[in-house]
């Protein structure tokens, strides 16, 4: 195990537990934000509001259609790399890297 501090008493164990809990909480809040974007570009822009967005011209393509067939995919790729980078930072902050 590569934990930063060996838990060798009740106090450090609970400190470690607290650390793990706050890591998890921050992870969940990050997840929810990114999933909101994921939902907005695909189900939102590509499906639910596609008709309204189709009134907008985006480089010769109706914007809603563009999100459904191209735009959402580009956003998905960016989302995953953003998540990977932010999680890396979160792990370093909490000393939980693998």
């Amino acid at each position: 195990m590569e934990k930063p501090s060996k838990p060798d008493g009740d106090i450090t164990i609970s400190a470690h537990q607290k650390n793990a809990n706050s890591y998890w909480k921050e992870n969940i809040s990050l997840l929810l934000k990114l999933l909101a974007v994921w939902f907005a570009v695909s189900f939102g822009a590509g499906i639910l509001f596609v008709d309204a967005l189709n009134a907008i011209d985006f480089f010769g393509v109706k914007l809603g259609f563009w999100f459904a067939q191209q735009g959402s995919i580009y956003v998905f790729v960016i989302l995953i790399f953003v998540y990977a980078a932010l999680m890396r930072r979160l792990e370093q902050k909490h000393g939980l890297e693998d």
């Binding site: 195990m1 793990a20 994921w38 259609f65 067939q69 995919i73 792990e91 693998d98």
Partner: protein, 591 residues
């Protein structure tokens, strides 16, 4: 050189490459067989995942589907890529931390129950065989079209190749072979797309193609032209589609969640060294997938334009050679309803069902005679959607080497996916059924032997399904995704994100999700296909999208059942705590 000689050369070289890799990377332990030793670089794993994921359906069928469905085809584009976001954020890093070999392994350990493990194995085997039958069929079709051998010979050749690298090399062999296959398939996909993009819009980047101006001097964009031409011919506008919002929503959701729950994709994330690598690797996988998936909508739109230009109002005798080639194979059929000798392409089915042809004799214009009952509309052509990608190089009159390349690429797509599926089937049998359930005493050596044996048997079954395709292969694609979405995905997700979820809840949820989805699809696809229309669907959701409902049912049933039964034992709760923390992943991998 003619196209078929070149095809033999290209296919021969690529097969030699795959076999060479298999021999070089053959394995000696179960850990290497199941997870390639766990030391695969995230970018390499991303590439292998992309090849694993992009099947004959992605390579051959998707652009054709989009070409004919227009906006409705978006469900495949968003569904089959959006799942990777779920995978990267919700599953892959935690399953990597768990650090075992298979998906049923996780479900069995997390839900401290061999019953749960067995339910997962059944789901996995069902999903994977459904999927693999289509791949083997794809291999056969490509062989028969490009190498002019019969479909069965093609299937057997494909089996032999997969046997070499899946049985010898296990996950390690498959990983490196898939990297090679990815390179072949993506090159084969993008080269003709670039040519066609140049031809239709004058811009070499297909991704910019949808909004680019068509070079015919009309001043219209590709989509603008498609919308107007299609509406003139009586079709719906390309950018509008016909499916209801509820159905589009449900199908996209089922495909996304199903993608994230497919076992052969999930296991690929067991092979990277670290938890952070699992996240990165999912990102790379999607980058490699997106190259094809952002090209496909352009290929679809160009193909539809070219098809209309070359076929509509053209006398049969003046049709291009590709039209007659595909007619010979029975994937195009023409009935001269108005007797003018020219082909009218309009909305609606030209005749009832898929074409059956008269064996001998030709029609007035020299066409194959279609025996089906004629329908009342003005459309005269039947065209199978699958030919769009395969026919594209011919439609665009590209050089013969491009045709050969497309043949090699489609074989790479089908074989890489087939191999990944066969591997998860064999690991589920040897690891979860034998080692973990029925024969816990076997050694690593024996387990490896059983894994190889299981892989060989699975290839046999897959080959059989390819040669004698159950008539319903095309019908059951919805099964694989729907069932993965309704059964495996919720169980894994709750196993990570809910400490309180217990075995009673998970098993009840999986069974309810599985059977409700199964029953709905079977009812509308097999029992009463005549009722398979929007008025009869639950909430207007087609069988393709019902997995989304099954997933919601699974979550609800699990939550209720777990609330009323006792909490999981403390060691399981500790396991959940542990997989949430990335540190110690390497240590966790030693068995």
């Amino acid at each position: 050189m003619d196209a078929s000689t070149l095809t033999y050369i290209f296919v021969g070289i690529s097969f030699a490459l795959y076999i060479g890799i298999a021999v070089w990377s053959r394995v000696g332990s179960t850990k290497e067989f199941y997870v390639a030793g766990g030391g695969i670089h995230p970018v390499v794993n991303g590439m292998a995942t992309a090849a694993d994921w992009m099947s004959a359906a992605s390579f051959i069928s998707m652009a054709g589907l989009i070409a004919f469905l227009g906006y409705d085809g978006s469900v495949y584009l968003m569904g089959w890529t959006g799942g990777y976001v779920l995978l990267a954020l919700l599953l892959a890093p935690y399953l990597r931390k768990f650090g075992k070999f298979t998906v049923p392994d996780f479900i069995g350990d997390r839900y401290y129950s061999d019953a749960a493990r067995l339910v997962a194995v059944v789901c996995l085997i069902f999903i994977s065989f459904t999927y693999v039958a289509g791949q083997m069929r794809g291999v056969g079709i490509v062989f028969s079209r490009f190498l002019e051998v019969d479909i069965n010979t093609g299937v057997v050749a494909g089996m032999a190749i997969v046997f070499m690298y899946a049985v010898l090399g296990g996950m390690k062999g498959i990983t490196y072979t898939q990297v090679a296959q990815f390179c072949v398939l993506i090159f084969a996909y993008t080269v003709p797309a670039i040519f066609i993009s140049m031809m239709v819009t004058g811009n070499p980047v297909p991704q910019f193609g949808l909004g680019a101006e068509v070079t015919d001097g009309s001043g219209l964009t590709v989509l603008g032209k498609l919308d107007s031409v299609l509406q003139d011919l009586g079709f719906n506008a390309y950018t509008e589609g016909t499916k209801s919002k509820a159905d589009i929503f449900a199908i996209t959701a089922a495909l996304m969640v199903g993608t994230a729950g497919l076992p052969h994709v999930i296991v690929r994330f067991f092979t990277v060294p670290k938890v952070s690598d699992a996240r990165k690797s999912a990102g790379w996988a999607l980058v490699f997938i997106a190259i094809l998936y952002t090209t496909a909508p352009a290929v679809g739109a160009f193909a539809r334009i070219n098809f209309i230009n070359e076929v509509n109002e053209t006398p049969y005798q003046a049709t291009p050679q590709w039209f007659k080639n595909w007619e010979t194979l029975g994937l195009i059929g023409w009935q001269d309803k108005n007797g003018d000798g020219a082909i009218q392409y309009r909305a609606g089915a030209p005749f009832e069902g898929t074409p059956t042809f008269k064996e001998d004799g030709r029609g007035v214009s020299g066409e194959r005679i279609v025996l089906n009952t004629t329908t009342a509309n003005a459309n005269e052509v039947y065209v199978d959607r699958d030919i769009m990608v395969l026919a594209n190089p011919e439609i665009a009159q590209l050089p013969n080497w491009v045709i050969a390349l497309v043949a090699a690429g489609s074989l790479a797509a089908a074989l890489s996916t087939a191999a990944g599926l066969l591997l998860v089937i064999s690991s589920a049998v040897s690891h979860d059924l034998l080692k973990k359930t029925f024969m816990p005493a076997i050694t690593d050596k024996q387990e490896l032997r059983y894994a190889r044996l299981a892989a060989a048997c699975a290839i046999g079954v897959a080959g059989y399904l390819g040669i004698n395709p159950p008539g319903f292969v095309a019908q059951v694609v919805a099964f694989a995704f729907g069932l993965a979405a309704a059964s495996l995905f919720p169980a894994i997700l709750m196993g990570i994100f809910s400490r309180r979820m217990n075995k009673e809840g998970a098993i009840a949820g999986m069974l309810v999700g599985l059977f409700s989805t199964f029953a709905y699809i079977v009812f509308f696809k097999f029992v009463s296909p005549e009722l398979n229309t929007e008025e009869n669907w639950l909430f207007g959701i087609s069988p393709e999208g019902i997995g989304a409902v099954g997933m919601v049912l699974n979550f609800m049933v699990s939550a209720i059942v777990s609330k009323t039964t006792k909490a999981p034992p403390p060691e399981v709760q500790a396991l959940v705590e542990d997989i949430r923390i990335p540190s110690g992943a390497k240590a966790g991998h030693v068995h």
